[in-house]
Structure formats: structure tokens, C-alpha cells
Amino acid sequence: MFALDVAAHTGRWRSRHPAEKALLALGLLVCAVSLPPWPGAALSGAVAAVLLVGPARVSPAVVLRAARVPLLFVATSTVPLLVTMPAPARLSVDPAGPALAAQTAGRSVAALACLLLFSATTPLSDVLPRLHRLGIPPAVTEVAALTYRMLFLLMDSARAVREAQAARLGFRTWHTAYRSLAGQAGAVFVRAFHRARRLEEGVALRGYTGSLAVQVEALRVSPSFVASTVGLLVTIVAATVLVRAAS
């Protein structure tokens, strides 16, 4: 349903422990955001992109499709950095603008590659049951896990309703489009609450005590993967420091 989630569930790194992938992707993300854009962010982003389409074997088409919306935001919000406003309603080109815009956009694109490395290799269903180990209350992680499971059903419902409405010319005019959208939202609301009630009845019949325990696949953390990740992150930091010292 979501291309990144499908890639994460069917990808080559599916059986790796989520902590390994989090260390790699989020470590690179921290480097991309906190090191100087050149060369720290550029190196982190390039490494993430290579790992994504190389060892993790995620399709470049999936990566590019997922990157479209955030890249549109980056492009739009970079425009104000190119100009300055010396007086109200007066704009002029800022001589320092292109450098700031390039740094900001570069850092954001690099960080996006790191986020995609995590998203396209780590299913949320592997992450959510383990989040309580980070100190997040189990009630919150269980609500998040329920939300995750229900949203696929509801997205399917919304899509089915939309297709039925489109087949009945429900999006012919603005007036009909708004009425159809309200119908979609209404149908999703009714189904969400109906499903919640059925779940309530189902778990009550099974002696529900307040805990929604699910079986979590036991995965081993690979020491070699962790060591390689730490080595990679240290190399990126060292290369950045060396290049900055030389320039």
C-alpha cells in the first residue's frame, strides 16, 4: 500500500534487527544534520543513497517517488532564502542567499536520503513493539500499533469508496467533489469506530485485561553490522574534520 512500507517488508534487510538499521540510518541522519553541510552532510547523504540502492537493494523508482513531496517543500522554501526584504513590500536579491540556500537544501536532501534508508528497510511493525524499551509508556506504543494496523484497512476503505464515487461521476464538479470527500471521511469514521467496537467485543470475549501483547519475532543483533556502522560513522566524522581543517 505504501511503497516504502512494502519495500521495508520485502527488502533484503527485512530480517535484520531494527536496532541495527536504526543505528545506521539515524547515525547517518545525525551526521547529516549536525556536521557542516560540506563535506559532512554530502558524505552522509551519499553513503545513505548508495546503501539504499546498493546493499539494501531498494528500487530507485521507489526512492525517487517517495522523495518528490519533500523535495517540492525544499524547493519552495529555498526561494525566500535567495532574496532579502530591506523594506516592507520590497524584495531584492541577497548576495549571500545562493550559498545559504545551497547549504540548507543540501543538508535537507542528505537528511532525506538517511530517512529513506530507515523507512525503506525497517517496517514499523518491527519498531513499534520495541519502543517501550526506550521508556515510552506501553499504552502509547499499543495505541500506535493499533493505529498502524487499522490505517491499512481504512486506507483500503477510503480507496474503495473513492473508486465507487468516481465511477458515479462523484468528482465531476467542485460541488460533487466536496460532497464525495465528506462521504469518504464519513465512511472511514463509521468503519473505524465499527471496527474498534468489534475489536472491543472480540478481546473482551478472550479475557482482555488491558494488555495487547503481540508476538515479536526474535532477531539477533549482528556484532559485525554494528561494528561496520560505527566504523562508517567515525570515518565520516573524521573525513569531515580533516577536510575542514585542510580548507
Binding site: 513531496v69 535537507s108 509508556p137 493499533l146 469514521f189
Partner: protein
């Protein structure tokens, strides 16, 4: 309007996490308390989170000819109240970052503050004010959804202006620049979201009156008669 991954400088990104944290912690405590008193609420909250996610994924026709997505914060705050929305909104924003790459993990604090804290509180404050003043459900829901969306957009513009102040006029100039560039899509979207939310509430009043009563949205008999 999600701030993309890595767009904010690291110090600012960390500061927005610190600013959002008390609201999310307060919401989490309220949620844990609610779940302890009534364990079945967990299932209802899961459904509410999934509904909020799907609501924000609906495609509203835009004046530019393309499509925009509603924030869903206004309607969500009216239905589920702001403290719960700060947690549900945080979960939805995390899912949007990981499943769709909309927003990001480093900018999650800033996006939570604009979309899961300020938007819902402004929306619910207006809704409660209009209802207490005797206003109708339609007017209250329209104001909550439209102005909740506008508040989100204003806060995002302010966050970007704080991160990138204008070299000549500082924060004010940057706010005008970012606000101006996003106004093209966000102002019509706010009106669209307001209208859509009214249609949704009217529909739900007819089809799911019991659920709306359970959530405390419907209390006056006249609400149902009007719808």
C-alpha cells in the same frame, strides 16, 4: 505543511523537541490515565489515530488545479480533544515521516508543535468559544477547522523565519517572505478544510449520532435537528 527532514538547523530542531515535549508528555499521561480507567478506550484511540491519518491523506481539489491534503487537526481536536490530539497527532506525524517521507524525524518536534499542539488548541479554543456563545455546530466546526489550519501554517512560517531570519529586517521580514510564499496554497486550503469538516460533521450527525455523543460533540438536541 510539513517541514522536510533536515531543513532546520540542529539547535533549532532540538529546541522544538524541547518545546513540544511538555504537551506530548501531558497528552500521554492523560491517555495512560484514560486507558487505565477504561482499557477498551485503547481500541477507540487506535481507531481515532487511524482516522486522523486517513483524513490527512484525503485529496482536496486545489485552486492551482492540483490537489492538497487537509491537516485534519481541527476536526480531530473537535472530535478527540487537544491533549489526546497531541499524542495522536505525534503518532500520525511519525507515521507520515516513516511511511510517506512527509516531514522528518529531525523536524518531528517542530511539526508536532505546529500540527499537533498549536493547530488543535487554536481549533478547539475557537470551537468551545463559539459553542459557549450560542453559535451553531456548523459555524463552530468551520471556524475550528479553517483557523486551526491557518494557525498551523502561521506557526510553520514562524519556525522557518526563526531559523532563517532576513539579513535586513530579521524575523519580521523572513516571516513575510515565508508566509507570502506558502499563502498561495494554504489560504484556499484552510477555507476548503473548513467547508469539508462541516460536511463531514453534518454527515456524521446523521449517521453516527451515538459515536458523536460518546465523544461529547453532540449534546444539544437542536444540533441533530439542524443537521
Amino acid at each position: 505543511m510539513h517541514i522536510a527532514e533536515g531543513y532546520l538547523p540542529p539547535v533549532q530542531a532540538a529546541a522544538w523537541f524541547a518545546v513540544s515535549a511538555p504537551f506530548v508528555v501531558h497528552g500521554s499521561r492523560a491517555l495512560v490515565r484514560q486507558v487505565r480507567q477504561d482499557p477498551e478506550t485503547k481500541l477507540l484511540l487506535g481507531a481515532a489515530g487511524a482516522f486522523t491519518f486517513v483524513l490527512s491523506a484525503l485529496k482536496i481539489p486545489s485552486v492551482t488545479g492540483s490537489c492538497s491534503h487537509p491537516t485534519g487537526t481541527g476536526l480531530g481536536a473537535v472530535l478527540f480533544r487537544p491533549p489526546v490530539m497531541s499524542v495522536l497527532g505525534g503518532i500520525v506525524l511519525l507515521f507520515q515521516a516513516v511511511l510517506l517521507a512527509h516531514g522528518g524525524l529531525s523536524t518531528l518536534g517542530a511539526n508536532v508543535f505546529s500540527m499537533a499542539v498549536v493547530g488543535p488548541w487554536v481549533a478547539y479554543g475557537l470551537y468551545a468559544l463559539i459553542r459557549r456563545a450560542g453559535g451553531g455546530l456548523d459555524v463552530a466546526v468551520f471556524a475550528a477547522a479553517a483557523l486551526g489550519d491557518l494557525a498551523t501554517y502561521c506557526v510553520t512560517s514562524a519556525q522557518l523565519a526563526l531559523a532563517f531570519p532576513d539579513p535586513s529586517t530579521g524575523f519580521a521580514g523572513a516571516l513575510a517572505k515565508f508566509g507570502g510564499i506558502f499563502a498561495v496554497t494554504q489560504l484556499p486550503l484552510a477555507v476548503s478544510e473548513g467547508l469539508l469538516s462541516v460536511l463531514v460533521i453534518r454527515l456524521l450527525t446523521r449517521t453516527s449520532g451515538d459515536d458523536l455523543r460518546r465523544l461529547g460533540v453532540l449534546s444539544r438536541p437542536t444540533d441533530e435537528v439542524r443537521a
